[in-house]
């Protein structure tokens, strides 16, 4: 298995370097083939490993690569660790990445910078693989920052747009706020455990559960503060409440990027981290309570915003943010396997939704505003059915005990776990999750109805106007403006079809290994100790009352009906709602004013302080009284000295006399 693992991780890096250096010196098909080829090889090598863990034949393995740092007692090396948890991530990352590479052949076809784009995509994949195969916290941090770099580069890929440049910086800097927590967490962990090796830390963690430690003048439970610090890192990467503001802006990147990085893989890194360190988090009850609350709050908060946005990608972005919240509170209540299950299914259906949205955007001449869509059902049927499958999966359509789409199994299991956990906080999470599920169903169907049903509203779009060279007045009653939406090329449709299979079947096929740990009697066997497996919770989860099991389905149907009424049956309802509840709509539509708030309390003051320190501090004080002041004093005193040295005898005599008097006075006293 060693060679496979090395190939899986380093092929994308190699492809990225070659594609990036050759850049435009070869036809772009060269860079595209080499990167896409590498990713398909990696994906093909990943599945047998995953299936090996499913079948119980594979065991955890660590492949040493290179010495990294040895400083006193602190050592960490480059190494690749593959266990069941990593195997899940390998499959998710490489499959989605390979499909996104393929999809980009079609989507980016007209872009002059394709080699650069594909090099970035592969670089991202490499960094993400380093993250999930990390054997120590520092390598995880390497991957963590590596994906951050790739995300920065890809968000800013169309760097001529000022908004893309701004979004790229925002993503990086907000993530750095999280990284501050992550880094302090690593330092604290090293201080406590004298190691950065994840397996050694997890082994030693239970013994530390009662200890306390000083941090910024406070005295706290050691494990709580360490886990909270690490979780702050996870919040940044996974765009949780307070550190979420970068994710919607990240939609400035090309759509394949949104599918790969900002839906399926990178943003789930935080969830992966909490699961990877689950034995550690299990010794930190307060930290876990925070994880639960933040996750539950995010899943509700982001879902509310999703119901009001017009940009198709932003709706899906907030949806991602919300779904990540589900994963976190699943982990927070101790259902790590369930959290990973949702991560797994979400990767397929959310990548599908994003790529489907990309296909719609492609069909609609780069228009992203859903107000200008409508009636696309028959025009782009394959995209429509793919989006349909994604929507059925995310809203969790299914019949108990028969069959359901992917989200049906994973999301329902999360709600059941929260309910089964039985604490006050987990009850909060359950209800927040239930309400969010209603909103999820509403905004997902809203997206579908606005895009694929109703009357075409295309001619109001500037993009379409450019395409057909007509104004709405010229088009008159024909609101299509004569525009002909075109179905995407096969390079884009094949990934959609394959992901559709995942969104339909991933839940049904893999529910036992992920939730119960195994399809047979041996619970937890699949995970093989790679996460904390709470068998009691799994039993309790299956034993929740029927109304709890049906809650998700009920709210899903309610959301669907709401969307149907508002956007199909009586399409004037949304406008009336906005009229009557303007303040509420404005608040939600403006994303709860987080951006404005942060701008006021962080961004503007930082620049203001910088100017003050510079003008008043450096120039106004230090230089003024320092070097310039000394120069001034020297100049003045030399001026004074000059007048004394007048050359007249009487001046010297006077000074001599004064000197004598002073000397005598000194001696006498």
């Amino acid at each position: 298995m060693q060679t496979q693992i090395l190939l899986i991780v380093f092929l994308p890096l190699l492809a990225s370097i070659i594609a990036g250096l050759v850049n435009k010196n070869a036809p772009s098909v060269f860079a595209k083939s080499i990167t896409t080829g590498a990713l398909f090889v990696s994906a093909a090598l990943s599945w047998p490993i995953f299936l090996g863990f499913l079948g119980g034949t594979a065991t955890a393995e660590v492949v040493p690569v290179l010495k990294w740092v040895q400083s006193g007692d602190m050592t960490f090396d480059w190494a690749l660790r593959v266990d069941a948890l990593t195997a899940v991530m390998l499959v998710v990352i490489n499959s989605v990445s390979a499909l996104v590479h393929l999809y980009s052949w079609g989507y980016m076809e007209e872009d002059p910078d394709q080699p650069r784009f594909f090099a970035y995509l592969s670089l991202f994949t490499f960094a993400m693989l380093m993250l999930v195969t990390a054997d120590n916290l520092v390598q995880m941090f390497f991957g963590w920052e590596g994906v951050g770099l790739a995300s920065y580069l890809l968000i800013g890929f169309w760097f001529k747009k000022p908004s893309a440049g701004a979004a790229a910086i925002k993503a990086f800097v907000v993530n750095r706020v999280g990284d501050l927590g992550f880094m302090l967490g690593i330092f604290g962990t090293f201080l406590v455990f004298q190691t950065t090796s994840i397996s050694e830390i997890l082994e030693a963690a239970p013994a530390m559960s009662g200890t306390t430690i000083g941090f910024l003048g406070m005295r706290l439970y050691t494990m709580d503060i360490l886990c909270i610090l690490l979780f702050i890192g996870a919040m940044g990467k996974s765009a949780q409440l307070f550190l979420h503001t970068w994710l919607p802006d990240a939609m400035e990147g090309p759509t394949p990027v949104s599918a790969l990085i900002h839906a399926a893989t990178m943003v789930t890194a935080g969830v992966f981290m909490v699961c990877r360190l689950s034995p550690m988090f299990e010794t930190a009850p307060t930290a876990l309570a925070i994880v639960t609350v933040v996750g539950a709050a995010t899943c509700f908060f982001a879902a509310t915003i999703g119901t009001t946005q017009w940009d198709i990608k932003r709706v899906i972005a907030y949806s991602t943010c919300s779904q990540l919240g589900y994963m976190f509170f699943a982990a927070g209540v101790g259902a790590y396997g369930v959290a990973m299950f949702h991560l797994f299914t979400h990767a397929f259906f959310k990548a599908l939704l994003f790529l489907g949205a990309g296909s719609v955007i492609h069909a609609m001449h780069h228009e992203q505003d859903m107000r200008y869509y409508g009636d696309l059902r028959k025009k782009i049927p394959i995209t429509f059915w793919a989006m349909m499958a994604g929507t059925l999966a995310i809203t969790g359509v299914g019949v108990l005990g028969v069959f359901g789409f992917a989200g049906f199994y994973s999301k329902d299991a999360i709600l059941e776990a929260a309910f089964a956990r039985g604490t006050g906080i987990s009850q909060f999470a359950f209800w927040a999750g239930a309400v969010a599920a209603l909103l999820t169903s509403f905004y997902s169907w809203r997206l579908m109805f606005l895009t694929f049903w109703g009357k075409p509203r295309w001619i109001d779009s500037e993009h379409i106007q450019h395409s057909v060279h007509k104004t709405p007045e010229e088009a008159g009653a024909d609101t299509t403006g004569g525009y002909k939406p075109h179905e995407s090329p096969w390079s884009m449709l094949i990934p959609l079809i394959l992901l559709t299979v995942g969104a339909v079947l991933a839940g049904y096929i893999y529910k036992y290994p992920f939730i119960d740990g195994s399809s047979d009697a041996v619970n937890g066997a699949f995970w093989g100790g790679s996460i904390y497996f709470n068998e009691n919770l799994v039993h309790a989860l299956h034993a929740v009352p029927l109304w709890v099991k049906l809650t998700a389905t009920v709210v899903m149907i309610t959301g669907f009906i709401g969307a149907y009424i508002a956007y199909i049956a009586k399409p004037d309802i949304p406008a009336k709602f906005v009229e009557n509840f303007g303040w509420l709509h404005r608040f939600v539509y403006n994303k709860w004013y987080f951006d404005e708030l942060y701008d006021r309390i962080f961004v503007k003051p930082a620049f203001w302080l910088g100017r003050q320190f510079w003008k008043l501090g450096d120039i106004g004080t230090i230089d003024r009284f320092g070097p310039n002041g000394i120069a001034w004093v020297v100049e003045r005193s030399s001026g004074a000295a000059k007048t004394i040295q007048s050359g007249y005898l009487y001046t010297y005599a006077l000074i001599m006399l004064l000197g004598l008097i002073a000397a005598i006075t000194w001696v006498l006293l």
Binding site: W68, W78, I169, V173, F187, I213, G214, G617
Partner: protein
């Protein structure tokens, strides 16, 4: 290598080159300077290759007694070796950077640089207190001339400020040195490093040396000479200033202050921490609002150097090694960033950030290098600066969580000002026609950037090459100062274990 005076040879080669340059002048001086610096670099490689890791602490020692209390004594340990390597590595690059941009008094210019190299090797190799002092202070003169003669419009003010600041501290240090030699009876640095000065005297000695090193570092609030000096200096002058001269302060702390005055160092660590914390936040914010590229990078240097001082006074191996790695990494990266500024300054003759924009379009390879160095400056893992920053902060955390917390905010602010700079230069539309017409980097500029880029990645991926030679020396220093370490504020304390797992269903509600 036995008996061959390689250190003296390494100083003689540039010295001969310097004298030659003075006489031949003109274009030929460039060739001589390049040859001399490359030969010195080759000797440096030989030096590194023959350095015996795990061998004697002081290697390649040379000694000639000149007169009572003063000897020409050279020798290096791993720390000095690394700093010498940094100097001789950057030198040929500096010559290349000046190749076309310096057109007046080329001979004198190259000569000044070669003299500079002699003095830099000397200062790291000196084993005699006064010999060190001479090299340490004499280094000012060529740099003063480089700024004052070949600098920008406001060069006289800048060079005067630079000289005034740095000289101020040195006088106090010289007085302290006389006292020390009288007390210990020797000017031999290795002996003095083991000598236990009276604790009361250490306090004043420390402050006297501190005055000099703090200015050289530079630490807040005596940093204001640096932005002016950088802005006015020619590109290569900035590279040497940021790459090597700023390391003299850190080297001073690690060679003198810590081992010679360990008690005072421990006692005054709070002062260093306080100044460092202010510097990280203050200068980072100032960097954020700069309009002049060189000023921005200069202020970022102050913030990075603050991590060095805080790391040094963390009193543990990670802090010390981290500080050394930051010095090496910063030497490469800030030097490279100044080269990046120089490349576009040579084309457009302005450092105003807003005059550029969209350079990724017409200068893709330049944008790539600039991106790499920007990311290294931000401390991205896999680059040189990450290793240093990570180790230093980890070391600081073990001494004080407060200091670690404040210093770590530097990673946020650093990302903000560097990416903001990069965005304004390389991203966006090409709003200025002249900037849009600039050609991508030439072969000569490739030759400047590529070696630094390789070194930055090497140091980030396999820092062992650089850590190994210093390991024994750092361990020895750590052992020497350990007893004076300030108390840490973490104070891990035992307690009764809580519920074994937070979410074990049997233990309902594991809250404490």
């Amino acid at each position: 290598m036995d008996g061959f005076p390689i250190l003296t040879t390494m100083m003689l080669v540039p010295l001969v080159g310097a004298i030659l340059c003075l006489f031949i002048g003109g274009a030929a001086a460039r060739g001589v300077a390049l040859a001399a610096t490359l030969a010195t670099f080759a000797l440096g490689v030989l030096l590194w290759a023959s350095y015996d890791i795990g061998g004697a602490q002081w290697q390649f020692t040379e000694r000639a007694e000149l007169f009572e209390g003063f000897s020409y004594a050279l020798g290096i340990d791993g720390i000095a070796l690394m700093l010498i390597m940094l100097s001789v590595f950057l030198m040929p690059i500096c010559v290349l950077a000046s190749w076309t941009s310096i057109t007046k008094r080329v001979g004198e210019y190259m000569s000044a640089f070669l003299f500079m190299e002699v003095l830099m090797i000397g200062v790291f190799a000196a084993q005699d207190l006064f010999l060190f002092y001479i090299f340490f202070e004499a280094g000012l003169i060529p740099m003063y001339l480089i700024i004052g003669v070949w600098g920008g419009d406001n060069r006289i003010y800048a060079s005067y400020k630079f000289f005034l600041y740095t000289l101020f501290g040195s006088v106090l240090m010289l007085i302290a040195m006389f006292w020390m030699v009288a007390e210990a009876g020797t000017s031999d640095i290795p002996t003095l490093m083991q000598y236990d000065f009276p604790v009361a005297a250490q306090f004043w000695l420390f402050l006297a040396f501190f005055a000099s090193f703090a200015v050289k570092m530079p630490m807040w609030p005596v940093h204001t000479w640096l932005p002016d000096a950088h802005v006015q200096a020619p590109t290569a002058g900035s590279v040497i200033l940021a790459g090597v001269l700023l390391k003299l302060g850190g080297y001073g702390f690690i060679r003198f202050s810590l081992p010679m005055f360990p008690d005072a160092s421990g006692e005054l660590a709070w002062l260093i921490f306080a100044l460092s914390m202010v510097a990280v936040v203050y200068t980072s914010l100032v960097a954020l609002v700069q309009q002049d590229m060189k000023k921005l990078i200069a202020y970022s240097s102050v913030a990075h150097m603050a991590l060095v001082t805080a790391g040094l006074f963390a009193f543990n191996v990670q802090g010390l090694e981290g500080a050394m790695m930051i010095m090496l990494g910063h030497g490469l990266v800030s030097g490279a960033l100044f080269l990046c500024v120089g490349v576009i300054y040579d084309r457009l003759h302005t450092r105003e950030i807003d005059r550029y924009g969209g350079l990724s379009i017409n200068m893709p390879y330049y944008a790539l290098f600039f991106l790499l160095f920007t990311m290294a400056s931000v401390g991205l893992p896999g680059t040189s600066n990450f290793i240093g920053e990570f180790l230093a902060l980890a070391g600081i955390y073990q001494t004080s969580t407060w200091v670690a917390f404040v210093c770590t905010t530097g990673i946020i602010l650093g990302a903000a000002y560097m990416l903001y700079l990069y965005r304004r230069v390389a991203f966006g539309v090409q709003k200025n026609e002249d900037a849009a017409a600039m050609p991508d980097i030439t072969a000569r500029e490739w030759a400047m950037m590529a070696p630094i880029a390789a070194a930055v990645l090497w140091m980030g991926v396999y820092p062992e090459s650089f850590l190994a030679p210093m390991r024994a020396d750092i361990a020895a220093l750590d052992a020497r100062i350990a007893s004076a370490a300030p108390a840490n504020d973490s104070q891990l304390a035992d307690g009764a274990p809580r519920a074994e797992a937070a979410n074990a269903i049997a233990h309902e509600g594991g809250e404490h």
